[in-house]
Amino acid sequence: MLVFTRRRQEAIRIGDRIEVRVLRVGRDGVRIGITAPPDVPVHREEIYEEIREANRAAVAPQVDLSALAERLRQP
């Protein structure tokens, strides 16, 4: 892992299209601004992980399909 020390308003560039800038440094957190092209997905890690786990848990669910379908057809 590359490790940098950055101060407020200092940035790191990744390639020529991505910039990671330190906007504010607080006691409990750092506010970071990411500038990236639209085709580069940027997510908080925990959100991505949460969805990844949810997806993994959802593969081929044990479901009584006709009963569920029937139930969902009711208004």
Partner: protein
């Protein structure tokens, strides 16, 4: 659109399908350029519907590791459901504001409880046959919107 019988679950080691069926699947393939989280290697899926399983639908991987998901249009579960799409999402889907998009909330079964993921729906642009899972930064909708507890 491809159709299937209502049988679920399909075992992961489902025998290989005939070339004709494979060709049909390929014609109906929806490309997922980014895969979906946890299944990043699955880049092509088919959407399967049938009268018997309506309003439920299935999405199945036809490339990479086997993955099959059960889902439903989230707008049928929650009146007024509206998950905002970012510029990035629209661009990835090749969609403009007027495009008709298909929405698919993944249904899961955990400890006997069925729920639908309203937070991160799969969105498909049927005109371009491109899909992606939307990951909103806000927590407006739950990942586990409970549908029903198992009897």
């Amino acid at each position: 659109m491809a159709r299937s019988n209502a049988a679920l679950p399909v075992p992961a080691d489902t025998p290989a399908v005939s070339p004709e069926v494979q060709e049909g699947l390929a014609r109906n393939a929806i490309s997922f350029p980014d895969g979906i989280p946890g299944f990043e290697a699955c880049r092509r899926f088919v959407l399967l519907t049938s009268d018997a399983m309506a309003p439920l639908q299935r999405i199945e991987s036809i490339e990479g590791p086997p993955a099959a998901f059960l889902g439903i249009d989230p707008r049928l579960l929650l009146e007024g459901y509206r998950c905002a799409l970012t510029e990035t999402d629209l661009r990835a889907l090749g969609a403009d504001g007027d495009s008709t998009l298909l929405w698919f909330a993944i249904i899961s079964e955990v400890d006997g409880v069925l729920s639908a993921n309203l937070r991160a729906p799969i969105v498909i642009n049927p005109q371009r046959m491109i899909g992606r899972q939307v990951l909103p930064d806000d927590g407006l909708y739950p990942i586990r919107h409970v549908l029903t507890t198992k009897a």
